[in-house]
Amino acid sequence: MIDASIFGFQFFQYALIGGTITGITCALIGIFTLLRREALIGEGIAHLSLGGIAVGLFFGIYPLYTALIFSILAMLFITWIRRKGIAHSDAAIGLIIAFGLSTALILISLADGFNVELFTYLFGSILTITKTDLILISTISLAVIIFFIKFYKELLAMTFDEETARLSGVPVEPLTLVLNIIVALTIVLSIKVVGIFLVSALLIIPATTAFQWGVSFKKTMLISAIVAAISVFSGVMFSALYEISSSGLIIFTALCLFIFSVVYTRLGDEA
């Protein structure tokens, strides 16, 4: 039997609310990053954030703040490197991963004390979401969702065909910059929820699941958000009840929904 009293705990409420909001934001952003063929940027930014978190822990600053600054700088760096033709995206992502991990390793060995806390960022610890985390997550997520609603058609137009969008008067460069910064912000927020190792899964799986259904763009966004919400919600529930890793459960649920969608939609085609 599920013990309903768990809903009364504040840590559990924070986990559910914070996790679901972040999951939905990731799901929406995931659609655009996948369609722009930039799925691995999530991986890069997440790994770089480890360096940011280590800097925060080392100097006694709230680690998500330093991770945010690191990730935004990294995003600008990737954009700049690509525009200048110094290297392709994948090489640029490799560079920032190297930078993030090496910084983190150096600081860990120097500090010799915050290893345990750092590991909660690696594997996620949704049940330790604090009020500060929740406020940060909600504010940024809300800003992201408002941005998506406001510039929905422009973002869609430039994701589909950048050249034509630019000709029609869409400010492609500024919007791309904002979109990139938003991706970086969202990834950092999700680190608390699923951890550095699984952040990109939260970007990729709900969106890829939604793509299977072959529906309109609006419905694809809706399905992606629902998949993320179900995954986070059930992941958090079962994790609290059975003491299993929440990030593991969240991503595993999302994967199950993905497999279900693939099988179900294919069966429909053959019938």
Binding site: I31, L35, K150, F151, Y152, K153, E154, L156, A157, F160, D161, E163, T164, A165, R166, L167, S168, G169, V170, P171, A210, F211, G214, V215, S216, F217, K218, T220
Partner: protein, 256 residues
């Protein structure tokens, strides 16, 4: 009256190689102009130069009498690019959503499309004969349907000039014929000026009013009954090129 498009001595170079060499021509209102030339001859580059997507080395381009760098009125120009039509089949977009993207412009930045905007989308889809495809995913369209859908997207805002870059690659002959009939109907009924890259020379000579032959150099000519087609085409396709063309096979009444 000012020309819809005027190109003077346009030179485009890429990595030091000259792609377009001093092109000069004009397109007048109501022209139905075909761009022909061998593969890799610079047809797409010419169009991109006209639209300012590809930077020019020298020369001038005037759209509706305004020099390209000062031209801001892009609602008057509809463009279907080659890359747009070769989209990712998995892109989650319905036909109606795609045609709706044709309404995106500088003036409605950050605003939702109005009921009026969507009404225009439906009317344009009706005009192009694709209204019943509205809820279909764009990845499921045939080549012929794709063309019509993209032209509908470009037509939504009633442009005065529509520029199509190879809109008919991989489409069966019947569909090509219907597609060009629709374009010439557009020219006749709405007075739209059409500039289109075409691989079908018979279609160009049967249906269109002007031809631009491109192979680094650009030769433009009005299509008149006494035009020596072979001589013109040999300038870009080479001396061994033979063009067998029977004017009586034309199915259009454009030149009658």
């Amino acid at each position: 009256m000012t020309s819809v498009l005027e190109v003077k001595g346009l030179v485009i170079e890429r990595s030091g190689t000259r792609i377009i060499d001093e092109a000069s021509f004009t397109i007048e209102k109501g022209d139905f102009a075909g761009i022909v030339g061998p593969n890799g001859s610079g047809k797409s580059t010419l169009l991109k130069g006209i639209l300012g997507i590809e930077p020019k080395k020298s020369g001038e381009v005037f759209l509706f009498g305004t020099e390209l760098s000062k031209f801001k009125d892009w609602g008057r120009v509809g463009y279907v690019s080659q890359s747009a039509i070769n989209f990712d089949d998995k892109f989650p977009l319905t036909v109606r959503e795609l045609v709706g993207l044709g309404q995106v412009s500088r003036s409605n930045l950050g605003k939702r499309l109005s009921a009026e905007d969507w009404k225009k989308v439906d009317e344009t889809m009706e005009y192009m004969g694709i209204i019943e495809l509205g809820q279909k995913r764009i990845g499921q369209l045939s080549g012929g349907e794709k063309q019509k859908v993209f032209v509908a997207k470009a037509l939504v805002r009633d442009p005065e000039l529509i520029i199509l870059d190879e809109p008919v690659a991989g489409v069966d002959i019947g569909a090509i014929e219907k597609f060009y009939r629709k374009l010439s109907e557009l020219v006749r009924e709405k007075g739209t000026t059409v500039l289109v890259v075409s691989h079908d020379l018979s279609v160009v000579f049967c249906q269109m009013s002007k031809i631009l032959c491109v192979n680094r150099d650009v030769y433009s000519s009005e299509i008149t009954p006494d035009l020596n087609e072979t001589e013109l085409l040999r300038k870009v396709y080479g001396d061994h090129f033979t063009f067998v063309f029977h004017k009586h096979e034309c199915w259009s009444d454009l030149h009658e």
